[in-house]
């Protein structure tokens, strides 16, 4: 086994920012807005670094697809303990239409090229909430997948994954190479320490173009409109349970 783990990290608008829709309803405002690493991607990086610290794997490679600024996201992963980075340059129009299908093609190509033992991704990104990239990548590679992972343990060439599902927890055992997606309770991501931020500057980030990987970025989706959710209206107070039932019937809720 190569002992190499690929971790996908996505640069998204910071979770604390108040999102505003562009006046032309074509998307959300991103210019000058604070961006950071997707929280589920942080959890993915933390898991990979933990595996390396336990000496179960040998190398952690952080991958990000996007414009120049994606390199900052890779640097954060390096400061958390990843060994090197790969920046897949996607900019302009291509970046606007970049979605799970394109990213999973890129990830699949890189996983093969890097002879990865594991590919760990966040379960979804907090900007589009797609929850598709991990699953699609596994399908393209024909690899087993352990999604919504809240616990991961390596055992030789097998991985035991405890998955968070609607009914509770499901434990599966899959063989490597495999794709895992990180859920919230998998771990608590560490702060990058000051010494590690300084060391991260010396770590390498390779530049790759999607064309070099033979990936076609054309999107099959067209975004028609983006709008804010309807304003929340004031509620109405009622005196008794009968009133409540009556009101619910009135508005056709029951």
């Amino acid at each position: 086994m190569s002992g190499r783990v690929l971790v996908g990290v996505k640069r998204v608008i910071d979770y604390a920012v108040k999102i505003r829709v562009k006046p032309d309803n074509s998307g959300v405002v991103t210019d000058g807005v604070k961006h950071s690493m997707n929280p589920f991607c942080e959890i993915a990086v933390e898991e990979a670094v933990k595996l390396k610290e336990k000496k179960l794997i040998k190398e952690v490679v952080a991958v990000s697809c996007g414009p120049q600024q994606s390199q900052e996201t890779i640097r954060t992963a390096l400061a958390m303990g990843a060994d090197r980075g790969i920046h897949v340059e996607v900019a302009g129009k291509d970046y606007e239409t970049l979605g799970p299908l394109q990213v999973s093609k890129i990830m699949a190509a890189l996983a093969k090229k890097e002879d990865a033992q594991l590919l760990i991704l966040g379960k979804q990104a907090i900007d589009d909430d797609c929850n598709q990239t991990g699953q699609m990548t596994a399908a393209l590679l024909d690899w087993p997948q352990g999604t919504f992972a809240s616990e991961v343990s390596l055992d030789g060439d097998k991985v035991k994954v405890v998955r968070e599902i609607d009914g509770g927890l499901e434990t599966i055992k899959i063989s490597t190479p495999a794709v895992l997606t990180a859920d919230l309770r998998l771990n608590t991501p560490r702060y990058a320490t000051l010494p590690n931020i300084m060391k991260a500057k010396k770590k390498k980030i390779a530049n790759v173009k999607p064309a070099d990987l033979g990936v076609d970025l054309t999107s099959r989706l067209e975004v028609l409109k983006v709008e804010e959710p309807p304003q929340r209206e004031a509620g109405v107070k009622v005196e008794t349970v009968e009133d409540l039932v009556g009101k619910l019937k009135e508005t056709g809720r029951i």
Partner: protein, 422 residues
Amino acid sequence: MKMLLNKVFRAGLRSGIRLQSSAAANAALSSSNGSLGFSFELTDQQKEFQQLARRFAREEIIPVAPAYDKSGEYPVPLIRKAWELGLVNGHIPQEYGGMGLSNFDSCLITEELAYACTGVQTAMEANSLGQMPVILAGNDAQKRKYLGRMTEEPLMCAYCVTEPGAGSDVANIQTRAVKVGDEYVVNGQKMWITNGGKANWYFLLARTNPDPKCPASKAFTGFIVDADTPGVTPGRKEMNMGQRCSDTRGITFEDVRIPKENVLIGEGAGFKIAMGAFDNTRPPVAAGATGLAQRALDEATNYALERKTFGRAIADHQAVSFILAEMAMKVELARMAYQRSAWEVDQGRRNTYYASIAKAFAGDVANQVATDAVQVFGGNGFNSEYPVEKLMRDAKIYQIYEGTAQIQRIIIAREHLGRFKK
């Protein structure tokens, strides 16, 4: 100001872009080949340091700061966590296990931590003050022994100069050190020592030349004293107005024996060492005051946008928005002042003039802005359920410690007039 605007316009025209915003203008300036030399831009690494400190401060310190203020308990878990992240002991050179950060980078971190709680931040900053004489004047063996241990475990140290009878008038301290064989025997009383009860070692200033006619520049000696030396007795923790979780005590020295290896530079060199440390520690103190002021401004602004009176948010009333505007002016200027003073010392220049200006100004600003914040909050501001009364209590000490507001003015006047007389 007008000259700068003209330069901005010309730079913009040269690179052929329309100046839509100041952000665009700044981008044009940095990319056009007419580098102005003077830059307000942080490097990527500085931004990352700042981000780390900010995240730690907001997620770890802010939630627990009110509780520490109430109890006065020393924030051991926070200091340990900060130490593990490399946020403490930034000044220690790399060869002794430290980060060897520039003064500027340390100040960036300090401002972020102070934003969360200046009590916690002062406990951490007191380490820098205690270490500075050793960093500046220690020999290799002393640095290895006393700085090295700070990076191996989260230990604290303290700067032990002030006495009950002498604060500003350092030359008047009464603690005596008498040479007996290969040791010095120290007797005296120190007061208001930050980290006094928690320090592993102290930088101590004592008078070695008993002749009252001997000038200050020759009469005092700087020592490193292990806190567990017999005869060193920290007093009780003092209950202060603000920064209450910081540990401040009196310390009694009774026939304390210090080996001669622990003398910094040599007998009689102490005064200069003690004073020289300030050029390096006043910028971070100013940064701390700025962090507090920024916090006060942010809290007041958020409140002013939510609280309604006479039919609209109080921020819409000019009386309040003018208060906020003046708070903003002061915070921005305090920041520029400490950044300049830190940058000057990093360039290898004597920065006394700028350091005193920064510390004096930022200390005054912190007090004014914190008081204004309480005013903006109105009745709520006076109450301990809201965060601003703590800021007002915490701010006061910035006009007192590390050189009072009055001493700073003496220094600034002396430096300023000195330039004119040349």
